[in-house]
């Protein structure tokens, strides 16, 4: 009966289309997709006395205690980081705080101060999750133990493979107060349990 045959052929057609659609969808979705972790929060700029750039006379600048990056909603205390037994940079044991490398100059003193933080934990975002979203011109605030603020302006955001990390560019001396913020980036290698790259944000003191 023509009506029944047409219905059967329609079911066949729908089935073929569904199978082809499923096959195409499967083929097209084999690349990794990032989960959405919510809108970027933003914070107001911290208030407080902004200490002028220190004179080159080796005046000791007060220790850094907190970091605020309003553009990406970062607000954290700063712990102290040293070197591991193998000579690599120590990292904070918590993914919710950042740390200042005590072997680097103090933020706001002449030289390149280094601060590192985690991009994520095993479950979700860490304190420096949005670090790579910073742009030249964004401001970074470091509060010091004496209550003063050092303000830095981002000049560059770069990504480097960890096995060709530019140690000289990041750690070597500078004649002005500068800051480097470091976190992980690029592709995550599940076999290694770590990211293959680092994101480094360069910033110079501004008043």
């Amino acid at each position: 009966m023509p009506g029944g045959k047409r219905a059967a052929l329609l079911v066949l057609a729908v089935g073929v289309i569904a199978a082809v659609a499923g096959g195409a969808g499967l083929a097209l979705t084999r690349h990794p997709v990032a989960a959405q972790w919510g809108a970027t929060p933003s914070l107001p700029a911290p208030t407080g006395p902004i200490a002028a750039s220190p004179q080159q006379r080796s005046a000791q600048v007060s220790l850094p205690v907190a970091l605020t990056i309003p553009a990406i909603g970062v607000q954290t205390s700063l712990i102290h980081l040293g070197l591991t037994a193998t000579g690599t940079l120590q990292v904070p044991s918590s993914t919710a705080v950042a740390g200042w490398y005590t072997g680097s100059p103090r933020p706001g003193a002449v030289g390149s101060a280094v601060i590192a933080g985690h991009i994520d934990s095993q479950a979700g975002p860490g304190i420096f999750f949005r670090l790579s979203s910073l742009h030249p011109g964004d401001l970074v605030y470091v509060r010091r133990a004496d209550g003063t603020l050092a303000v830095f302006k981002v000049t560059d955001v770069r990504q480097y493979a960890k096995d060709s990390f530019p140690t000289a560019a990041v750690y070597s001396p500078t004649p002005d107060p500068e800051l480097r913020l470091i976190t992980c980036g690029g592709t995550f290698d599940p076999a290694l349990g770590s990211y293959l790259s680092n994101t480094v944000v360069y910033a110079v003191e501004t008043l």
Binding site: A24, L26, P190
Partner: protein, 282 residues
């Protein structure tokens, strides 16, 4: 058959967007390559020369890029970052008009990554503007130190660091070469013909210091300028700051597998029903 044509059209309709998806280019990441820049600072190191105004011009420009007013003896300005290229530095008496003839001028070529101190040196009667090339980086784990002798009263000075000789017989208006010393907190002893000065300073690894010997109201003064600083012991390699919780993951294939399965089932059922009905009825 209408249905077959429908099937063909449907497959074609799905293939076109699928092909287009593959053609979307990945957004290129912009990398900022900054033009070559260098560092310049200005110094007044002539004891009997009054305060001056110092002008820095891009070579050929008539309006100055930088002006420092009322720079007195013993002043060393902080480094300023400037574009690589040719410059003129001019010294005028403090408060003199910007259009007046300079007392002294010198040309300076800034190489990318280079650092320079442009210093007024010598006695006022023999004042000169000297372009001194500075070093900003250190050998690993070391401190770099040099001495500028700007004392007119003590013509020649000798500097010892923790008792060991560092610079001997440095004449007035001279700049010693850099010395790499092991980091330490120790006593620096500067002695001239009739005056000495001692000071305890800390030289940390990864720092560069310029020590300036000056005439003070009561004798010699030693100023310690921190030219640059970095991490004395640089960590090796990259930084392990991530655990992968936010890393992109390949979506599960299961929803698509179910769709394929359902489609195959429907196709099989429909096809079987259609072919059964094709047999001629008795």
């Amino acid at each position: 058959m209408n249905v077959l044509r429908f099937i063909r059209r449907a497959v074609l309709l799905m293939a076109v967007p699928a092909l287009l998806l593959c053609l979307i280019p990945k957004a290129a990441s912009a990398s900022t390559v900054s033009a070559g820049t260098g560092w310049v600072r200005l110094a007044h190191l002539s004891p009997d020369t009054p305060a001056v105004d110092v002008y820095l011009y891009s070579f050929g420009d008539s309006s100055a890029e930088q002006v420092l007013h009322h720079v007195g003896y013993g002043t060393v300005s902080p480094y300023e970052s400037i574009a690589a290229g040719d410059y003129t530095v001019a010294m005028r008496a403090a408060g003199a008009a910007a259009t007046s003839a300079p007392v002294l001028s010198a040309t300076l070529t800034v190489a990318p990554g280079g650092a320079y101190t442009v210093a007024g040196l010598g006695p006022e009667s023999g004042l000169r503007l000297q372009v001194i090339r500075d070093q900003l980086s250190t050998p690993p784990g070391k401190t770099l130190v040099r001495v500028i002798q700007a004392s007119l009263q003590q013509h020649v000075v000798t500097v010892t660091w923790n008792g060991a000789s560092a610079v001997s017989n440095l004449a007035f208006g001279s700049v010693s070469s850099y010395q790499a010393v092991s980091p330490a907190t120790a006593t620096l002893h500067v002695s001239g013909e009739s005056k000495t000065v001692n000071t305890t300073i800390t030289l940390a690894a990864g720092t560069v210091h310029t020590l300036v010997v000056l005439d003070g109201s009561k004798g010699l003064v030693l100023d310690n300028f921190l030219d640059s600083a970095g991490s004395g012991a640089a960590p090796t390699g990259g930084v392990a700051t991530g655990f992968g919780g936010t890393a992109p993951k390949v979506p599960s294939p299961m929803p698509w597998v179910y769709l394929i399965g359902a489609g195959l089932l429907l196709a099989a059922g429909g096809g079987a029903a259609a072919s059964r009905r094709r047999q001629p009825s008795a």
